[in-house]
Structure formats: structure tokens, C-alpha cells
């Protein structure tokens, strides 16, 4: 049974299974990139049509929280990479410790984003609709900006929640991983870093472009 457990029956070896899983996650990330693609495309396209209104919307965002959150996410991925390096050297305790740090940083992002920033946005009347607080010629374009803002941050947040669940899963079965066998840690790590990359595109779209002009 121990031999059979080493790899599933459609693979010729554990190494074969490992390579296949890595190909699978890369391809999955390609589909994720295309999933987010239309938002970025539509966002940039809509901004081109009415840049000043978009920028008026962009200036109402919370830059401090945005910067803090960016730092949190990058630090979280950094922590995850150290955790991965730990298990590669056979240190299971090191991995668990660093993954817990990565998890906490990710959770802090969620808390700041939705517990603090979204509440401030909603209190300022930035949700598009009849009660939208920006008036004048920029009103309609700024609403479009905030439609993008709420839609894309919600979707990104959802991906982060899935990531947090996956991290918790990895931590909970840490005992199974060794220096030789830690495929899932690598696969989840690729996903976790990918969420950062999505954020690194959202960050300038939300916080920076409006303030630059």
C-alpha cells in the first residue's frame, strides 16, 4: 500500500505525478489571468473614454490603506517562499511557522480591505447608484470607476479567501510533507503568489493613476 500511496495509478512515478501537478497549476493560473483580463481591459478602455471623471473617482480612494495592503501581500508571499524553502531543507517546523505568518498577513489584508476600507468608502457614499456622493460633470464616470473598484476588489478578495483556506489546509496536514515530498506546498504557493500579481495590477489602477494626473 505504501508504494501505491506514493503516486496515483495513472502516473509512472512520484516524480511524474509532481511534474504533472505543476503543469496543471500553471495552466490553471493562465486561465485565471484570462479571467481577470476582461476587467483590466474594460477598466482601461472605459478610463480612456472619460479620464478626468475616472481620476476624480480615483482620488477618493484610501491611498494609505492601499499602500499598507500592498506591503502586507508582498510580505505574505515572501513569508510563504521562506516556508517553502524551509520544507525543501526538511524543516517542517520552519515551514509551519512561516506559513502561519503568511496566513496572518493575508488575513490582515482582508480585514483592512473589507472591514476598514470598504466601510469608509460606503460611509463616504462611494457605492454607485442614486446616493453616490460625487456630483458635477464627473458624476457618471466616477460611478463607473467605483463600479469597477467594488467589483474587482470583491473578486480579488474572494480569491484571497480561497487562498487562506488552502494555506490553512497545507498547515493542517504539515506532518505529511518532507524534503522530498511537498508537492502541494509548491502548488498552493504558486496560487498564493498569483493573487499578489493580480493585486499589483489593481493597485495602480485604483490608487495611483487618478493621483498622477
Amino acid at each position: 500500500m505504501s508504494d501505491a500511496a506514493a503516486h496515483e495509478f495513472q502516473f509512472s512515478s512520484a516524480e511524474h505525478q509532481r511534474e504533472t501537478a505543476i503543469s496543471g497549476i500553471w495552466l490553471f493560473l493562465a486561465t485565471e489571468a484570462l479571467f481577470f483580463g476582461p476587467i483590466f481591459l474594460a477598466w482601461i478602455y472605459a478610463r480612456l473614454a472619460d479620464p478626468s471623471a475616472f481620476d476624480a473617482g480615483g482620488r477618493q480612494t484610501e491611498l494609505t490603506i492601499g499602500v499598507t495592503n500592498t506591503a502586507l501581500l508582498i510580505a505574505s508571499s515572501f513569508a510563504y517562499s521562506i516556508g517553502l524553502a524551509c520544507i525543501e531543507f526538511g524543516s517542517r517546523r520552519g515551514m509551519v511557522l512561516w506559513l502561519l505568518i503568511a496566513w496572518a498577513l493575508g488575513a490582515a489584508f482582508i480585514g483592512l480591505k473589507f472591514g476598514v476600507e470598504w466601510r469608509m468608502d460606503l460611509e463616504k457614499g462611494l457605492f454607485p447608484g442614486a446616493n453616490f456622493s460625487i456630483h458635477g460633470p464627473s458624476r457618471s464616470g466616477a460611478q463607473l470607476f467605483f463600479a469597477f473598484y467594488f467589483f474587482s476588489t470583491a473578486l480579488h478578495g474572494l480569491h484571497l479567501l480561497v487562498g487562506l483556506a488552502l494555506l490553512a489546509w497545507i498547515i493542517s496536514k504539515a506532518r505529511q510533507f518532507t524534503a522530498e515530498r511537498h508537492n502541494s506546498v509548491r502548488v498552493v504557493g504558486l496560487y498564493w503568489t498569483f493573487i499578489d500579481i493580480i493585486w499589483l495590477i489593481l493597485f495602480p489602477l485604483i490608487y495611483l493613476i487618478g493621483r498622477a494626473s
Binding site: 495509478f9 476582461p38 447608484g129 463600479a147 467589483f151
Partner: protein, 537 residues
């Protein structure tokens, strides 16, 4: 599993409902899909049948334009996302990919099962949308009708398609990784059957295009729920953007529907001509070319939507280019049959029907890809006839061809051959009777999606509706005799057609682990030999 049970057929390996619903065996999942797909095919077909009933009279026999709108929307949504897109990949593709590769299963068997569950959830949500009152937007969901004005159950329909999309992505991802990583020893890329190449090209489109549709539909749902959004011109959004994003998926999706059909035909034509497939590498690279160029032609759906003349000319030109690899395939199949020793068994009858109908559908596609002609023909029955020749005449024929070809392998039973041939011929006749008059109707100017029409179009519409009855009988025949064969059909040998390919080297039905010993591939595919008499003729 112990090794003494190694040769149990996959059908005998567990008889409980649980052993089916929790299976990770690609062959069983294919069967689960087959049942679901068959249901949706007949549900969508029934809607079409009611539409043809309505159009018998120029006043519309259903008496309600609203009902008619909901019927054609239901027909389109069910047929596109719950039959045409998944049909061949999830049934024949699931069953055959590991067998043709000499593998034991797909790379990710649990993901494969998950994709079936996603598909079923999507199917139930779609049925809910239908039962709750349906949608009246057509399958294309154009904004701002869908986002702001339509009163149907648009959000439910969108959620159904969204979920079905993830089922497609999971399937496509599984096939790509499997074909890369699980080929048997010696199975180089150019030793793979063309069916797998077609499936590979299909999967690439599924994986790259479906996420775009998923996001587009999410944006649409957001706009409908909150009354404000990306496609709303009142706040600077753009309805044309929706059309671009929608067709960026939905045109490549046309190739998702037809490419697996090309693969099926490329297996059947050599087998029943007893000849090597003519121009293997051309067929292979034509599939890849179609997948690539297919991504660059979406704008031809928008010639009259207000796009620039420049973009229209470019998209028209690119649309012509996609005809080249399609034509290469047709020539190669005909070249394979040339001087072949042709057997007119049921799969071959369907395949020959496919070649004729697909060619008709493809060539009429060039009419609508021409800018000036399209202005006259767009939104008419000419377009309806064109894509039904490709989708129904082409794709459904290919699906039936494949189903008949691999039925003995899948079920271990033979169906009555005479009934098979009768079915193939009935479908061919019924199809042409239904859709050929629509070319004429469209050319004369009858618009599509209308519930009533001017009285002088009545004779041709009557002809088309009469054809629909023949077609319906044609589709019910296989349902009858194939089901019959499950119980009473003769037992099939491992290779009843004398075909090449690894799937025919294992018993029918195959054992759970597919091959007792992992095969080693030394030959190119399609090494058929003609009888002596024919060679010396």
C-alpha cells in the same frame, strides 16, 4: 484494488449508485456525461420542434411572441452550452483520451469528476431558469436588453452558464495536461491519433476563451443586479464592449464545437476506407491553425453593430483565412477515401454526411464573412441555416458518427447495423429538408427570431417544419436502437471494425485500468492495409 480483480470490465467494477456517483474512472464519468448530454440534447431539440411548429403558419401557431422568444432563447442556451460545447469532449473525449494515449486515466481524475458535478449544477440552474419562466434575450445576452430591460430570469441563466464554463475549463485543463504528460512510451506527438490533436486544440480554446466569457457574464450580472455598470451607456459604459467580449469567447467556441467533430471524422474515414489518413501532418496543423485564427475573427459578428470599416475589413479577411485550414481537412478526408476500399457502415454514413453538410455550412460562411453580402444576409434565416449546417449537420453528425463507431467499445455491445444505417440516412434527409429551405428564406429576406412573418414565406416554412418531423424521427431512432442494444445487442469483440488505435487493443468494454500492461507504441497511426485485389487494380 487487488491484482486478481485486474481484468474486471469498468462496467462490472461496482454496481451501486455510489460506485457511479463517486467514481474517478474516466470511462464512468464519460457515461455520466453521456446521460446528461442526451437529456439536454432532447430538451433543446424539443424547444426547436415547438419553434418549427409555430412557424408552420405566418401568424405563429403558438399565439404568443413572448413564448416564442423564450423558446428560441432556451433552445440556443441549452444547445450551445449544454450540448454542442461539451458533447464530444466530455463523452467520447473523456472515454477515449486515456485509451488512445495508452494511459490508465486522465491526469486529474478527481477534477474530472468535479467537472461533471459542476456541469450538473449548471444544468439544474439552467432548468430552473427555464421552468421559472425562461429568458427572452436569445443566447447572446446582448446589453442593454439583458442588463436593464429584459424581464426574464437572466441572472439565473447567466449563473448556469458561468458554472458550466468552469466545468469546461476543468475538462480542457485536464486534457491538455494529460496529453502532455501521460502519453505511453513511444507515443510521440506525431504518433497520436488526430482525434487527440483535435481535442488538444479544442482544450486550448476552452482554457483560454472560457474565462473571458465567465468574467463578461459576471460583469453583466453585476450590472443587472445593481442597475449600474460597465456596459451601461448612461454612465459612459459601452454596450459594444459586451459584444466584443462575448464574441471573443463565442466565436472560438464555434471551433470548440466543430474541432472535436473533425477529430472523430479523421478516425472514421481511414477505418472505413481501409487506407492511411491522407496528409496527417496537414490535418494536425490545420486543427492548430483553426484554434489560433479562430481567436482573431470575432469581429465578424459585429459588421452591422457600428464598428469601424477598417476593423470590419480586417475581420472579414481573417475570417476568410480560417476557411483555408478547414478546406485542407475536407480535401484530406476526400483524399483518404480516394481509391479506398470503402465500407458503408453506420459510422461511415454519418461521416460522409458530415463532410457534405459541413462543407455546405463552411462555404456559406464565406458569404456572410463578405462585408457587402453580410449587410443583406445578417439577422436573416440565411445565417440560421449557415450555422445549423455547421453545428447540426456537421457537429451533431460527427457526434453520432463517433457514438456509433465507439459504441461497441464503450458498451461492449453491437447495435443492429440496418437500423444504424436507416438512422443515418433519415437524419441526413430530414436535416436537409429542414435547413435548406432556410437558406432560400434568408436570401429572400426573412428575418430570424421573428414569431410571425409575411404570408408569402409560408410554403418554404412548411417544408422546413415538415423536415423537422423527419429529423426528429431520425434522432429518436438511435435513442431507441442504441438503448435496445444495451440489453439485447450482440457482444462486441475487442476490435469489431478492424480499426487501428490503442483503444481497439483492449477488451470491449475495457477493464478499469484500461490496459493490463502499459502499451509501447512503435507505429504511426492509421496503418491500414487494402485488400490485394484493390491494390493491383
Amino acid at each position: 484494488m487487488t491484482h486478481s480483480a485486474a481484468h474486471v470490465s469498468y462496467l462490472e467494477d461496482g454496481h451501486t449508485l455510489r460506485s457511479w456517483l463517486l467514481t474517478t474512472d474516466h470511462k464512468r464519468i464519460a457515461i455520466l456525461y453521456l446521460v446528461a448530454i442526451t437529456f439536454f440534447f432532447f430538451a433543446g431539440g424539443f424547444a426547436a420542434f415547438l419553434m418549427r411548429y409555430n412557424l408552420i403558419s405566418s401568424h405563429g401557431l403558438l399565439g404568443s411572441a413572448e413564448t416564442y422568444n423564450r423558446l428560441f432563447s432556451m433552445h440556443g442556451i441549452l444547445m450551445v452550452w449544454f450540448f454542442l460545447v461539451p458533447a464530444v469532449p466530455v463523452t467520447l473525449g473523456n472515454f477515449l483520451t486515456p485509451l488512445m494515449l495508452g494511459a490508465r486515466d486522465l491526469a486529474f481524475p478527481r477534477l474530472n469528476l468535479l467537472s461533471w458535478y459542476l456541469f450538473m449544477v449548471a444544468g439544474f440552474v439552467a432548468l430552473y431558469a427555464v421552468v421559472a419562466g425562461g429568458v427572452d434575450t436569445g443566447w447572446t445576452f446582448y446589453t442593454p436588453l439583458t442588463s436593464l430591460y429584459s424581464k426574464g430570469h437572466v441572472v439565473a441563466a447567466i449563473i448556469a452558464i458561468f458554472i458550466a464554463g468552469f466545468s469546461s475549463i476543468a475538462t480542457g485543463l485536464n486534457f491538455i495536461v494529460t496529453i502532455h504528460k501521460l502519453r505511453a512510451p513511444g507515443m510521440g506527438w506525431y504518433k497520436m491519433p488526430v482525434f487527440l490533436w483535435s481535442l488538444y486544440a479544442t482544450s486550448v480554446i476552452l482554457v483560454l476563451a472560457t474565462p473571458v466569457l465567465a468574467m463578461t457574464l459576471l460583469l453583466l450580472a453585476f450590472e443587472r443586479i445593481f442597475g449600474i455598470g460597465v456596459f451601461d451607456p448612461a454612465i459612459g459604459g459601452d454596450p459594444l464592449l459586451f459584444q466584443h467580449l462575448f464574441w471573443f469567447y463565442s466565436h472560438p467556441a464555434v471551433y470548440v464545437m466543430i474541432l472535436p467533430g473533425f477529430g472523430v471524422i479523421s478516425e472514421i474515414v481511414p477505418a472505413f476506407s481501409r487506407k492511411e489518413l491522407f496528409g496527417y501532418k496537414f490535418i494536425v496543423w490545420a486543427s492548430i491553425a483553426i484554434a489560433v485564427i479562430g481567436f482573431l475573427v470575432w469581429g465578424h459578428h459585429m459588421f452591422v453593430a457600428g464598428t469601424s470599416l477598417f476593423s470590419a475589413i480586417v475581420f472579414s479577411l481573417l475570417s476568410y483565412m480560417v476557411a483555408v485550414p478547414s478546406a485542407i481537412k475536407v480535401f484530406n478526408w476526400v483524399g483518404t477515401m480516394h481509391k479506398g476500399y470503402i465500407h458503408f457502415d453506420s459510422p461511415m454514413l454519418y461521416a460522409i454526411g458530415f463532410i457534405g453538410l459541413f462543407t455546405t455550412g463552411g462555404l456559406t460562411g464565406l458569404f456572410v464573412a463578405a462585408l457587402a453580402a453580410d449587410v443583406h444576409l445578417t439577422q436573416t434565416y440565411f445565417v440560421v441555416a449557415h450555422f445549423h449546417y455547421v453545428m447540426v449537420g456537421g457537429m451533431v453528425s460527427a457526434y453520432f458518427a463517433g457514438l456509433h463507431f465507439w459504441w461497441p467499445k464503450i458498451t461492449g455491445r453491437l447495435y443492429p447495423e440496418m437500423w444504424g444505417r436507416a438512422g443515418a440516412i433519415t437524419i441526413f434527409v430530414g436535416f436537409n429538408l429542414t435547413f435548406f429551405p432556410q437558406f432560400v428564406l434568408g436570401y429572400l429576406g426573412m428575418p430570424r427570431r421573428y414569431f410571425a412573418y409575411p404570408a408569402h414565406f409560408e410554403p418554404l416554412n412548411l417544408l422546413s417544419s415538415a423536415g423537422a418531423v423527419v429529423l426528429a424521427i431520425g434522432y429518436l431512432l438511435p435513442l431507441g436502437y442504441l438503448t435496445w442494444s444495451l440489453l439485447y445487442g450482440e457482444r462486441a469483440s475487442a476490435n469489431p471494425w478492424g480499426a487501428t488505435g490503442l483503444e481497439w487493443t483492449t477488451p470491449s468494454p475495457p477493464p478499469t485500468e484500461n490496459f493490463a500492461v502499459t502499451p509501447i507504441v512503435t507505429q504511426a497511426p492509421y496503418q491500414y492495409e487494402q485488400p490485394e485485389a484493390v491494390i493491383h487494380e
